[in-house]
Amino acid sequence: MLNWLNDNGPLLFLALLDGTVTAFVLALIALGLSLVFGVMRIVNVAHGELFMLGAVISWFAFDFTSDPLLGFFVALIFAPLIVGSISIFSERIVLRKINYHPESTIVATIGLLYVIQQLTLMYFGPEARPVDAPFYFRIQFPWFGYSGYKLIVAGMSAIFLLGVWFLMKLSKLGLYMRATQQDIEIAKTFGVATDKIYASVFALGGGLAAIAGVLIVPIRQADYLMGLDPLLLSFIVVIIGGLGSIRGTIVAAFIIGISDGIISVFYEPTLAKMLATSLVAMVLVFKPTGLFGEVQA
């Protein structure tokens, strides 16, 4: 065991480090999807495109300001605002019109996915465009080096996750959201403006995805198809964690992130993805509500 650790310790450390960064970002993206499902009971297939929009807005901010640091903060403020507004707009003119019907919303959000993706292709183009990191430094460990910015991304994701937790537990808006999640009829009876809560939740979900896009784009570059991978991973996380559960989403993001890190480093990255999807199947068979999901009323 000690010999193994001696030989593979640095690799394990790299796997945990890489996995932790993946987990935090994944949690941030998936949380928006989970919230939307939890409160509104709808599956937003266009969620990955909102993440992509965050990254694309970040490129425009960087291109406009020509300053990585300023561009980053401009994007961090405006990307969630713009994407949140797009979310509210689509909630008003699409989702509300179909009365949040579960199956119709899936088809409608697939349509939304195409509209956002193709408009981005038309106005942004098909290239992957790089955005410089606001802080660029490298941390040298005894065995290898690692990107300092990636650690900042993990830290900022953690801050945003905490922020959402506080919002849900301590604010009046959070209370209304939880009330709407638990029982919409009773919430209405107690004077909760549930249609405004729906719009706020959809905007919050989109805003969180956009922030994740802004954080990740200096690592990955912005391109119009970048929303597909995170969408699939978010679904995996949300299904395993339990739709609508913040705790479940974070725990599942860590299970997927860390296992992906370890399996990818010691075996193959493809194997990690295979195992993650098998885990989804197992969860659906043995605990359809997910690890922390509750049976919805």
Partner: protein, 446 residues
């Protein structure tokens, strides 16, 4: 709008899988050429004089299979600019056999299945004379059989060894870009002689990458070197640190070649992983095509080496033909677009488009090709061509062409990164990259 429409189809496929997941979520390319330095202007002038004599306004239609979307987008954009610049110049000097050239472009989404569809659409709907311009090897592999079935000449600009290997058919030609096998054969002695014997190879996990893996291994054995690890990376990968962890400690040289939208992330994460304390680095420029070498995080590349087919920086190969070509395509002395210094070209690949159009022009004019019924004469004439002289038509350098394998051989360059710039340190001869032919397409029936 056209791009958008076509891409919708691509998105459609991808999203079918999303639908099912969603539902579950509710429930869930030996010898030195005599006269290699022939001036391009001399080559072009006689053609220009005869150009308008033929008396036909009926254009020669060339179907350009472009990677406008998908993972080949950056190459696609520059292949398109180069093709349009070449067509414009050819038309200016009188077209092909006196007929104007018309380029018809269709996006293949860098997808093999759509590639085959595009070849078919070009042949049956657009009724083009030739199909041309494909880069990504998996798309060539997917499209070439359809070109063979339709019996339409298909000219690729791909680098893959697939044409010369004999896997394709008599209708497929790669006349103006050398293949990976030839490139490796030409530079391997330099690598193993100058950088080290123990090599780890990192390559894309598909046809083009396998050519690198197989021929680098074979070349290593011949040169007394050893491949200590082979690390394939899926084409759509976006995170690379984990792959660098697999590089054995006894590695002297990292041989890397990467393609696709993640190349900047790939080199940057390599720098983050190793810092300044890295094994020798020998990369194929593919890993940096379309990428600005002075991007943040790429400082570690200083002192490392790259293979280049055609030097990105103008002082690397300063000939009359090379200057003319660079200017015509709109590329500055640093290899970026004249109108946008951030828009870095794919300079070691796109010259193949320019040269291939001139090769088609030469074959059409020599064979007397007029229409589809002359395909046999055109192909036999093309197979009879032995070399292309350097000049405006072939700015990358002189080439030997093998009628048996439908593949050319040319010179290669090795450049060193110094102060954020690529400086040519070695130029191979054509003979360095020649190998024995493994096939003879001339024996296939037409």
């Amino acid at each position: 709008m056209e791009i958008a429409m076509e891409n919708k189809e691509e998105g459609k496929d991808t999203n079918n899988s999303e639908i099912s997941i969603t539902r579950r979520s509710v429930l869930g390319a030996g010898a030195v050429i005599a006269g290699a330095g022939v001036l391009g202007s001399k080559l072009i002038d006689p053609i220009a004089k005869t150009a308008h004599a033929a008396g036909s306004d009926n254009p020669i239609k060339i179907g350009f299979q472009a990677h406008r979307t998908g993972i080949g987008t950056v190459y696609g954009k520059w292949y398109e600019r180069t093709t349009n610049a070449a067509a414009k110049y050819i038309n200016k000097i009188g077209g092909i056999a006196g007929r104007p050239v018309e380029i018809i472009t269709e996006d293949d989404g860098t997808d093999p299945k759509r590639g085959a569809d595009v070849v078919e659409k070009m042949a049956t709907q657009h009724k083009v004379d030739f199909v041309y311009g494909t880069l990504f090897s998996h798309v060539v592999m997917g499209s070439a059989p359809r070109a063979g079935e339709l019996k339409i000449p298909y000219f690729v600009v791909s680098e893959g060894y697939h044409v010369a290997s004999g896997k394709l058919n008599r209708y497929v030609f790669q006349p103006c870009i050398t293949d990976v096998r030839s490139q490796i054969t030409a530079v391997s002695n330099w690598i193993f002689g100058n950088l080290g014997k123990n090599v780890t190879i990192i390559y894309p996990d598909y046809a083009f990458g396998y050519d690198h893996r197989d021929y680098a291994s074979a070349a290593a054995e011949k040169s007394g070197g050893k491949i200590v690890a082979k690390i394939p990376i899926p084409m759509t990968e976006k995170s690379f640190t984990r792959y660098f962890a697999k590089i054995p400690k006894n590695t002297d040289v990292i041989y890397h070649v990467m393609v696709g939208p993640g190349v900047l992330t790939f080199v940057r994460e390599m720098g983050e992983f190793f810092g300044s304390n890295h094994p020798q680095l020998f990369g194929f420029i593919d890993s940096l095509e379309g990428v600005n070498i002075s991007s943040p995080g790429l400082g570690f590349l200083d002192g490392s080496y790259f293979w280049e087919a055609m030097p990105r920086y103008a002082d690397g190969y300063d000939t009359g033909g090379a200057r003319f070509y660079r200017n015509a395509v709109g590329v500055n002395a640093s290899g970026a677009s004249k109108s946008d210094a951030k828009d870095v070209s794919t300079y070691s690949h796109m010259f193949g488009c320019w040269e291939t159009l001139f090769a088609i022009k030469e074959a059409v004019e020599k064979s007397g090709y007029r229409s589809k019924k002359d395909y046999g004469d055109l192909i036999e004439t093309f197979e009879g061509i032995n070399f292309f002289n350097e000049g405006i038509a072939h700015p990358q350098g002189p080439k030997i062409f093998s009628g048996k394998t439908h593949q050319c051989f040319g010179q290669q360059f090795i450049s060193k990164v110094q102060n954020g710039k690529l400086n040519v340190v070695h130029k191979t001869t054509i003979a360095d990259g020649i190998y024995e032919p493994e096939t003879d397409y001339t024996k296939q029936s037409l």
